[in-house]
């Protein structure tokens, strides 16, 4: 019995890309999700906010004030329009590049900047690299660095909710590189077999650090992989906020029937992280060409056509955000490092004897000098 469905209009390889916004900023009237323009403005502002924040964090890293940053330049629509299409009860299982989704949900900027500095107020107490944050209150799971490990968690969480008859979906983000990990295949397989309410969001940004997407797979698309697991799959223009919103919304609405794999076709305009120099492996011409599909430009053009956004609003927004970031950074830089005991706490619910011993020894022993 073949249980998966392939809409007749779509190719077997899933190479067609669903697009709503044309290059002129007009929405395809048949596919337009017809969102309230206030919501579209809010999505645009969140995308812009993420872009500016990325830029300022990159600058702080270059100045040696934060050690590391992993940004999402070029992928703002894939990240924020997708998060916007989720309901508040739906859980997000992020990779490390979806900070914008967390901010969209209301995570305070100061809390984020404290995480960048790993200071005493960092929600993870300086135990992880910058950008490895967590937001339970915002239904946002903890970020780790291994690739793809969060996929099974999203499946298990959604599965548990289904067993408890709670209606929610889990959305899991990962890049094209993650489709080569066992967790991706296991996740789709478990989700397909048990019809978990999981939305697999593959941000195909074309590059896994230096390895291009055609070295990750011989498939004609990443969306094609869903068919093998009986999972509904759609390939979407991930630089098109409206197309992304529309596809994720549909996946949410169908989540009680089972999982959906969405390939969000986008492009990583920046480096993998501040530790990466993409000049070593890709041509500037490619980046320039891809910049023409910048998701912010496309959505701004659309809003301008609607008369819902203009240059003055943009400048005001950025200038206000800049002073907000500046203030958060000033505050974060004045905060002390976490206390020594925080290194030994939280390994277990209660600290066992051997960690008591190691804490006492470290406290009494020589401590590193200030750099």
């Amino acid at each position: 019995m073949i249980r998966y469905e392939l809409p007749p209009s779509r190719s077997v390889d899933h190479t067609d890309i669903e697009t709503v916004l044309g290059p002129d900023g007009r929405a395809d009237p048949h596919l337009d999700p017809k969102l309230d323009s206030a919501l579209v403005v809010k999505i645009y502002e969140a995308m812009l906010r993420t872009r500016v924040l990325d830029d300022r964090m990159l600058a702080l890293q270059r100045q040696g004030r934060v050690s590391f940053h992993v940004g999402c330049k070029g992928e703002e629509a894939a990240i924020i329009a997708s998060a916007a299409a989720l309901r508040t009860e739906d859980w997000i299982f992020p990779c490390y590049r979806e900070l914008g989704a967390l901010l969209w949900r209301g995570f305070p900027l100061q809390r984020y900047v404290d995480n960048m500095y790993g200071n005493a107020d960092d929600v993870v107490q300086g135990r992880q690299m910058p950008d490895h944050v967590t937001g339970k209150q915002w239904a946002y799971a903890s970020v780790s660095s291994p690739i793809g490990t969060q996929i099974m968690h999203a499946v298990g969480f959604g599965w548990a909710a289904k067993l408890k008859r709670q209606k929610l979906a889990t959305a899991v983000y990962f890049g094209d590189g993650a489709t080569s990990t066992p967790d991706f295949h296991t996740g789709l397989n478990f989700a397909g077999v048990y019809k978990t309410p999981t939305i697999f969001l593959c941000r195909n940004n074309r590059w896994a650090i230096s390895v291009p997407s055609d070295k990750q797979t011989a498939s004609a698309s990443f969306a094609a992989k869903g068919a093998a697991y009986g999972v509904r799959s759609v390939r979407v223009d991930g630089n098109d906020a409206l197309a992304t919103y529309r596809a994720v919304r549909e996946a949410v609405e169908r989540s009680h029937e089972g999982p959906t794999l969405l390939e969000l076709v986008t492009y990583r305009l920046g480096g993998h992280s501040t530790s990466d120099d993409p000049k070593a492996y890709r041509l500037q011409e490619e980046v320039d060409l891809q910049s023409k599909g910048d998701p912010l430009t496309r959505l701004r053009r659309h809003l301008e056509l609607l008369g819902a956004w203009n240059e003055l609003q943009e400048r005001r927004f950025v200038s206000q955000l800049d002073s907000e970031i500046k203030q958060c950074v000033e505050i974060a830089e004045k905060k002390p490092a976490p206390e020594l005991r925080s290194m030994f706490d939280g390994v277990y619910a209660e600290r066992p004897w051997h960690l008591d011993e190691q804490y006492e020894l470290t406290k009494r022993g020589p401590r590193p000098g200030k750099e």
Partner: protein, 323 residues
């Protein structure tokens, strides 16, 4: 009081946990309809349904990864890995995710989960059905590692482990599964984690053992009893280990022998010997001794030459006592 094998006692603990707590779910390969390849989960799907005793696709990383997500949701998953030898595909999920989740999320999420897995040799299982990988998990910050040696402890330890807030690796010595029967109380009781048990008191040598090798240690102790008075400690929880019971015993006897099936190099014996040296050095009358499996893959035909059975423990006890 009914007599139970370890298989029955573990089954009983699972049944009690599931009746007591709606959040407890079992999942794994063959755990549902057939009740597990060792029948440890027999009858549970009949009582609790296929939504709480779940037959999963064949992927250990998926079983543990899904369990982590379930635990984050608020369930108490008890995944089974069919043989400890097959746990390695789940190693990343256990080490990088389950063990680290509480710490790296600043305490926002704990992962209360018990990974049950049969381990150990002596059942003609060859390399892929006999391994003892406990020290790989003891080495990982954030995990608890438990290993019962008898039906009573197996039930009480498993009930405690399922109620614990942290991820627990629960190693079940499959050589003991049906080999020993003992009186096991009906109903709920706890054997606390991180408490060892002195199973045989003695004055001359302390033996530290767990799982199936505990019986070999006791047999060896009985054999040398006319000459050497051996104290045998069943660690029960390997990590965090009950250091106080170990140190008190070694301070009394001045001699220590550690017995384990796992390969010698970097086995848990290495850590136990170090701890004894650090905490009771001036009480030692003889160098600590390890009687262990060898640094080879686990063999099929010659498994009784590989295992640290009583015939290898006896000379170690005599030599240590005479040192």
């Amino acid at each position: 009081m009914p007599e139970m094998t370890m298989v029955q006692a573990i089954n009983d603990a699972l049944r009690i946990s599931m009746r007591d707590d709606e959040r407890v779910v079992l999942l794994g390969e063959d755990v549902g309809k057939v009740g597990g390849v060792f029948r440890v989960t027999a009858g549970l799907q009949d009582e609790f349904g296929a939504e709480r005793v779940i037959d999963t696709p064949l992927a250990e990383g998926g079983i543990v990864g899904a369990s982590i997500g379930m635990a984050m949701y608020g369930l108490r998953p008890v995944p089974e890995i069919q043989f400890a030898d097959f746990i390695y595909p789940a190693f990343d999920q256990i080490v990088s995710e389950a063990a680290k989740y509480r710490y790296r999320s600043g305490g926002e999420f704990g992962i209360p989960m018990v990974i049950r897995t049969p381990f150990g040799g002596g059942i003609r299982g060859g390399h892929y059905h006999s391994q003892s990988p406990e020290s790989l998990f003891i080495h990982v910050a954030g995990l608890k590692v438990v290993c019962p040696s008898n039906p009573y402890d197996a039930k009480g330890l498993l009930l405690s482990a399922i109620r614990d807030e942290d991820p627990v690796l629960f190693f079940e010595p499959k050589r003991v599964y049906r080999a020993a029967k003992m009186d096991v109380p009906e109903g709920d009781y706890a054997v606390p984690l991180s408490k060892a048990k002195v199973v045989r008191e003695g004055a001359h040598v302390t033996v530290l053992a767990w799982g199936a090798m505990l019986y070999e240690a006791v047999a060896a102790a009985e054999e040398v009893a006319p000459k050497v008075d051996v104290e045998v400690i069943d660690l029960r929880t390997l990590w965090p280990v009950d250091i106080d019971t170990i140190v008190a015993s070694v301070k009394k006897t001045g001699r220590v022998v550690v017995v384990h099936e796992a390969p010698r190099t970097c086995g848990f014996g290495a850590e136990l010997v170090s701890l004894v040296c650090e905490k009771a050095f001036l009480h030692l009358e003889a160098p600590p001794v390890r009687v262990t499996g060898h640094d080879t893959p686990f063999p099929y035909t010659l498994e009784n030459d590989y295992l640290p059975l009583a015939h290898r423990i006896v000379p170690a006890l005599l030599e240590t006592a005479a040192y």
